[in-house]
Amino acid sequence: MSIFEYNGSALVAMVGKNCFAIASDRRLGVQLQTIATDFQRIFKIHDKLYVGLSGLATDAQTLYQRLAFRHKLYQLREERDMKPETFASLVSALLYEKRFGPYFCQPVIAGLGDDNVPFICTMDCLGAKELAKDFVVSGTASESLYGACESMYKPNMEPEELFETISQALLSSVDRDCLSGWGGHVLVVTPTEVQERTLKGRMD
């Protein structure tokens, strides 16, 4: 079993009309055994920027701590929050630093940039950025997620419809992956508010 499949994870982010949604599953496993069903994979960097980290849970936690640290320093120095594009470059640089001993994580970054234009991107464990205009996926269920998102996604969805779409895409994909699931965690971020919801799916 690959090291990326040790803990199991599923992450997806989608762009809507002046908003974005980011969703993850909630399972923490150790190969075939489930340890917890309330594990958090999506972290807030600032009000309009969220990062989801799939892959090995220990590296996700370490990487999040380093990113939070770097962002806090940035905030102290620049007296403002980081733009999503800048943050994506920071994550990419941190990952490539460990080129020959990488963090086994695939981040999904989602944020609202200047003028509240939504920004999403993903990268592999070495920091190769993939910008997308519609959706990005990551984790053990990524192949199912690609299919589900491709068929369900429409551009310029309002927040409610975006929430429905991303939830359905996530739940149907993790149902086909034994290593991820046990519910879902969805955040829909608009310029004025953040809606956080927990989904109940197949609990197996």
């Binding site: 803990n7 923490l28 150790v30 055994q33 340890i35 917890a36 594990f39 090995l56 849970a57 220990t58 936690q61 370490t62 001993g101």
Partner: protein, 204 residues
């Protein structure tokens, strides 16, 4: 094989661990205490490689004491868990400790808590957890019988059920177990469950 499991009850947390010190097919001793009392209100149940287990848990214990000497107040359970995870994470890519840990503690304003820290430094706060081959049986028993806020009698009954399951279903089941609890009155040994008593060493 090693079995460590723990759960959180109403105002207390408990950890049970087997007490066999094993080297390949040989049982060196059957009364090895694997649940360390870190300080007045914390328990550390560890399973894994023998030397690593003792060295790492003593290292954590001494550092927890040092913090208290330096600062005059004890570390909270959450802080101890994060410190322990940090040490494991730093060592992970240098010379890893093969020790998995259940950390139980009682804080005055938070109440009891239990943390799962596996050997690759994945940290998660849980209500019930287990390590080792025994986890296949004890986790299932706890899934069936555990509920939030159990009384001490109910929890010990559940622990006994788990031990019985391990003894009857695990091929190399350890004969003896120790149970320790931590509540507002502190961390202490609750009892032993022995089916083999070590014969005392005869005087020379």
């Amino acid at each position: 094989m090693e079995c460590v499991f723990g759960l959180v009850g109403d105002g207390f947390a408990l950890i049970a661990a087997d007490t066999s010190a094993v080297h390949s097919i040989l049982v060196h001793k059957s009364n090895e205490d694997k649940v360390m009392i870190l300080d007045s209100h914390k328990l550390l149940g560890a399973s894994g490689e023998g030397g690593d287990r003792v060295q790492f848990t003593e290292y954590i214990q001494k550092n927890v004491h040092l913090y208290q000497f330096r600062n005059g107040i004890p570390l909270t359970t959450a802080a101890t868990a994060n410190f322990t995870r940090g040490e494991l994470a730093i060592a992970l890519r240098k010379n890893p400790y093969f020790v998995s840990i259940l950390l139980a503690g009682y804080d005055k304003d938070i109440g009891p808590s239990l943390y799962y820290i596996d050997y690759i430094a994945t940290l998660h706060k849980i209500e019930k957890g287990a390590f080792g081959y025994g986890s296949y049986f004890s986790l299932s028993m706890m899934d069936r019988h555990y509920r939030s806020g159990m009384s001490l009698e109910e929890a010990i009954d559940l622990v006994d059920k788990c031990i019985m399951e391990i003894r009857s279903r695990l091929v190399v089941a350890p004969p003896n177990f120790v149970i320790k609890i931590v509540d507002k009155d502190g961390a202490r040994e609750y009892g032993w469950r022995e089916s083999i008593k070590d014969a005392g060493v005869a005087a020379a």
